[in-house]
């Protein structure tokens, strides 16, 4: 769908933010993901957050790895430089970019394959360094582009669309991030914009590594066998369509629930996950508490969402490295090159 150009037309009465920009000014190209993909809701939440915060888009760099999730950096913030890196390696490229210019806002988008498998090492080390990035994992438990293999965040004993069990246990990226010292750790659900938008805003504002692990259902590969829009159903009713290329139209799953409330959300595959929104009394500054609450709810088969942990005193990478307050890419060559007198001294030291 990349050939479809978005109309440039703006309705004159669209509301504007402090920079005089409309929501549309923060959009990107038309998404080419499957209709109803949770990732598109996350894209919309990122657009909404940047619009609400009145961020100058050109001061944001958006980076990603490879996979469905990583494609989405093309679908928001057209005025920002974007970088689709290689599979699982976005954290290192983001680290380098951040080293070069500490003044930009960095949004990293990744998926569960990109982060929890091929890129697990880079993910851990970016956290360890407290890279100043808003790291959003669009977590659907499956490899979409290669047609539905289990990912490392898929829960043990859950099934793929062919009915096979997932034999291995899941990696909990949020739990891991807390252990590794991430300054800001949250979990959310793509269908809960009311929760997700404020979390993204907080994450962007946070000076250090902020993870938002967003559960984002895959409409195509976590599919219900009895659904009238399943592959089986369509095959029975429409023989003309190519099996792999046809993707049924679906509505985004939306969930609305209040703090402290627990709600069952039915996914496209007919299974449901139980989302537990943290209540107002939860203190996210307590690391041990954050770890134990994640473990507790996981044991009960629930997914707990919200801001899980925040360290208000973390030193971001540049503070640790003592890099200049002027971004390194803005220091003139004359100030970087020591010149002839220093070289004379050095030559003497080599005799």
């Amino acid at each position: 769908m990349t050939f479809i150009k978005k109309p440039i037309f703006r309705h004159p009465s669209l509301p504007k933010n402090d920079l005089g920009l409309t929501y549309r000014d923060y959009e990107g190209l038309v998404s080419t993901l499957c209709a109803g993909c949770g990732h598109d809701s996350i894209t919309a939440s990122i657009v909404q957050s940047c619009y609400d915060l009145s961020l100058p888009a050109h001061k944001i760099a958006k980076l990603s790895g490879i996979g469905c999730s990583s494609k989405t950096t093309n679908y928001f913030l057209n005025q920002s430089h974007g970088f689709n890196t290689v599979h699982g390696r976005m954290p290192s490229v983001a680290t380098g970019a951040n080293l070069a210019n500490r003044d930009l806002i960095y949004i990293g988008v990744s998926g569960d394959g990109d982060t929890a498998s091929i890129g697990l090492g880079q993910y851990c080390h970016a956290i360890r360094r407290q890279l100043n990035v808003t790291y959003i994992v669009e977590n659907n438990g499956t490899y979409g582009l290669t047609k539905g293999q289990f990912s490392a965040t898929n829960d043990k004993k859950s099934k793929n669309k062919k009915g096979a069990d997932n034999p291995f246990g899941a990696i909990d990226l949020a739990l891991m991030a807390i252990e590794l010292g991430a300054g800001f750790v949250a979990r959310s659900f793509s269908g809960d914009k009311e929760q997700l938008v404020p979390l993204i805003k907080k994450a962007i504002a946070y000076n250090g590594f902020s993870l938002i692990d967003v559960i984002s259902p895959c409409v195509t590969f976590n599919n219900h066998p009895h659904s009238t829009k399943s592959y089986d159903y369509i095959r029975e009713h429409n023989t003309a369509m190519g099996e792999l290329d046809f993707v049924p139209e679906k509505e985004n799953i939306q969930a609305k629930y209040s703090e402290g409330e627990s709600v069952d959300v039915t996914l496209h595959d007919g299974n449901s996950i139980n989302l537990q929104k943290l209540d107002g009394n939860y203190d996210p500054r307590d690391q041990d508490k954050a770890v134990s609450i994640l473990r507790k709810y996981r044991g009960e088969g629930k997914v707990v969402t919200g801001l899980l942990y925040i360290n208000e005193d973390a030193n971001e990478m540049h503070e640790t490295l003592k890099t200049s307050t002027t971004p390194l890419n803005a220091i003139p060559m004359n100030d970087l090159c020591p010149g002839i007198d220093e070289l004379d001294k050095l030559n003497k030291s080599y005799t």
Partner: protein, 613 residues
């Protein structure tokens, strides 16, 4: 002194146990000889180990400046009983073998001069602390040696004072140890030896430096601000050099630094960071060796295809696999030239010595930014980690760093229709923008997927092929931009040439001098960069037979030449050395002579040199 005395032409070798403190004493010896004005070349032959294995340090001393390695040792200082047998066999007839005679040994060679000095006993008597007893053994043999071969004691004292100026106690302790060694020689041994050194004047405007030190410093002068790396022998000291100089020369008043050095979790991450920083407008580099290149290959392809500047120093070591981490080779030529999958070609620079490492380190950033592509500087362990005597480093205050085609805010406003991958100038090099340059203009999407002129995703085969063609054109643009080969015409009429690159140059020069003295003229070309300049084609076309010298098994440079230049393969005769040791001139002389003697056709192509050395 006897009439048999000869001066400043000898090979001195130390055999030690690694981790015993010998390295600094041996380097110290080389430095003292250098300060005496004598041409020297030092090679550290060390194990991939921290403590307890054999290690050697060779110093070639040559007034006539024939400084390639040679086999056959004139004076061996044997301080490792494990290797006595091997070490004594290396000593030339009439040479000298010095060993620690605290434990007397009977060596079965009567054609050499064997000197025993009870070094361990002398130290046991002089020191009570066990660590001092061990460490000062190295200084004691240095003291003995200074008398035996005639190293100027004042020069040694001055060196010590430069080194320990702020620590008088250490200075005194070292002088004491030196005196112990000298005293024993004075009282017990006939000195000096036949092979001696004396002051000379050959080192005016020379420095003693290793290639990694020079390249790290070069990166500082290049204005590099980000170094991301993963430790690997023999490249580690390059980033350490950058760090040392940057922390000293780039410190701000508020205690911050105009540089960031990041030790990554692996080579993939190291090169990823360098790519990210270059993409964002800083000059960034990484340094590695063979295994690192293998790991970095996917990212190198991204930088090639997305056209991101990148400087990568590959300090080559013995491969394949983990290979010989502490030995030298030139065996990454092909894996670097075509690093990464798909149609990729990388710019390579081949420095010959530490001096050129400094200049290539500076220029590599200019080429990377001008051509918007990875530039791999192919040094090796011999250049990178050994101390070489080279011309002092120069800096032209008018040097202007070439930042390449980067559009600023005003230029973006004047540009009609910015497209990141448009070939506006017809040289294959597009214009790029750095994030945050302009609020509304110049943003684009960087990707390793196929893209159109605006950076947009495409699966259109015609556009994809066009992009690949433009990248090829850009690569061709590099041919005239990059360092040209160094060509020496020894004989205008000869149809025989010799090609080399990198660290083998000293051995080539020595060989050509030797052959010249026998009336054999061979013209020489040293390749300094890939893609190959037109001058390289010409040199090959002008000769009928060309020797090509490489330190690898597979004749990688020959293959690269044959691959890139049409119909030349029958002219190229490979001379290959891949035992991990720096090349000797004798090896080359033997191989070339074999060809000349055995092949009548080649013999007829010889013409005498212009002047016989």
């Amino acid at each position: 002194m006897s009439n048999n005395s000869s001066y400043n032409e000898l090979v001195l070798k130390f055999a030690n146990v690694n981790g015993s403190g010998s390295a600094s004493a041996n380097t110290f010896c080389a430095k003292a000889l250098f300060r005496m004005g004598i041409p020297v070349s030092a090679k550290n032959i060390f194990p991939s180990n921290i403590q307890g294995l054999p290690t050697w340090y060779e110093i070639k001393i040559s007034e006539s400046e024939q400084l390639a390695r040679r086999d056959g040792i004139d004076v061996m200082v044997a301080m490792n009983a494990q290797t006595y047998e091997q070490d004594i066999n290396e000593v030339l007839e009439n040479g000298t073998f010095i060993y620690d005679s605290s434990l007397l040994r009977d060596f079965k060679r009567d054609d050499i001069n064997i000197i025993g000095i009870p070094i361990a006993k002398l130290c046991a008597d002089a020191y009570t602390d066990s660590r001092q007893r061990q460490l000062f053994k190295n200084i004691v043999y240095l003291g003995s040696l200074s008398l035996l071969i005639g190293i100027d004691f004042d020069v040694i004292k001055q060196l010590l004072s430069d080194q320990f100026g702020s620590k008088p106690k250490l200075y005194d302790q070292n002088i004491k140890a030196l005196e112990i060694g000298r005293q024993y020689v004075k009282e017990n041994i006939k000195y000096p030896l036949e092979k001696q050194v004396r002051k000379s004047n050959k080192n005016t405007n020379k420095i003693m430096i290793n290639g990694n030190e020079a390249a790290g410093l070069g990166a500082v002068y290049a204005g590099a601000t980000v170094a991301s790396w993963y430790p690997i022998t023999p490249s580690t000291s390059l980033v350490e050099s950058f760090e040392k100089h940057a922390m000293k020369l780039r410190k701000n008043e508020d205690g911050t630094f105009n540089a960031a050095i990041m030790q990554a979790e692996d080579e993939l991450s190291a090169v990823g960071m360098a790519i990210g920083a270059n993409w964002n407008g800083a000059r960034a580099f990484t340094a590695t060796s063979g295994p690192g290149i293998s790991l970095m290959s996917e990212f190198i392809g991204l930088a090639y295809f997305a056209e991101i500047p990148l400087v990568l120093f590959n300090i080559q070591r013995g491969g394949p696999s983990t290979g010989m981490p502490t030995r030298t080779q030139q065996s990454d030529v092909l894996s670097c030239a075509y690093a990464s999958h798909g149609d990729t070609k990388q710019v390579l620079l081949f420095p010959a010595d530490p001096n050129e490492c400094f200049y290539f380190a500076i220029e590599s950033f200019d080429y990377a930014e001008r051509l918007q592509t990875p530039v791999i500087v192919l040094s090796d362990l011999d250049i990178g980690m050994n101390d070489w005597v080279v011309d002092k480093l120069e800096w032209d205050p008018n040097y202007k760093h070439d930042r390449g085609k980067v559009l600023n805010s005003k230029e973006l406003e004047n540009a009609k229709d910015f497209g990141r991958y448009k070939d506006v100038d017809g040289d294959g090099i597009p214009y790029r923008t750095i994030p945050a340059t302009h609020p509304e203009l110049g943003a684009y999407f960087t990707r390793g997927t196929s893209h159109n002129e605006y950076g947009g995703y495409t699966e259109n085969g015609v556009i994809h092929a066009k992009t690949l063609d433009r990248l090829e054109k850009k690569f061709d643009t590099g041919k005239s931009l990059l360092p040209q080969p160094e060509i020496i015409i020894n004989s205008p009429k000869t149809k025989i040439g010799i090609i080399n690159f990198g660290s083998t140059t000293k051995a080539i020069n020595e060989t050509l001098n030797h052959l010249s003295s026998k009336g054999i003229g061979i013209n020489h070309m040293r390749i300094r960069a890939f893609p190959f300049s037109k001058k390289i084609d010409n040199f090959i076309n002008e000769h009928e037979v060309i020797f090509i010298v490489e330190q690898n098994r597979d004749a990688q440079m020959k293959k690269l030449l044959v691959n890139e230049i049409d119909s030349i393969s029958s002219k190229l005769l490979s001379i290959l050395n891949y035992d991990g040791m720096p090349l000797t001139a004798q090896f080359l002389i033997d191989k070339i002579s074999e060809h000349l003697e055995e092949d009548i056709d080649i013999n007829q192509l010889i013409a005498p040199p212009i002047k016989i050395v």
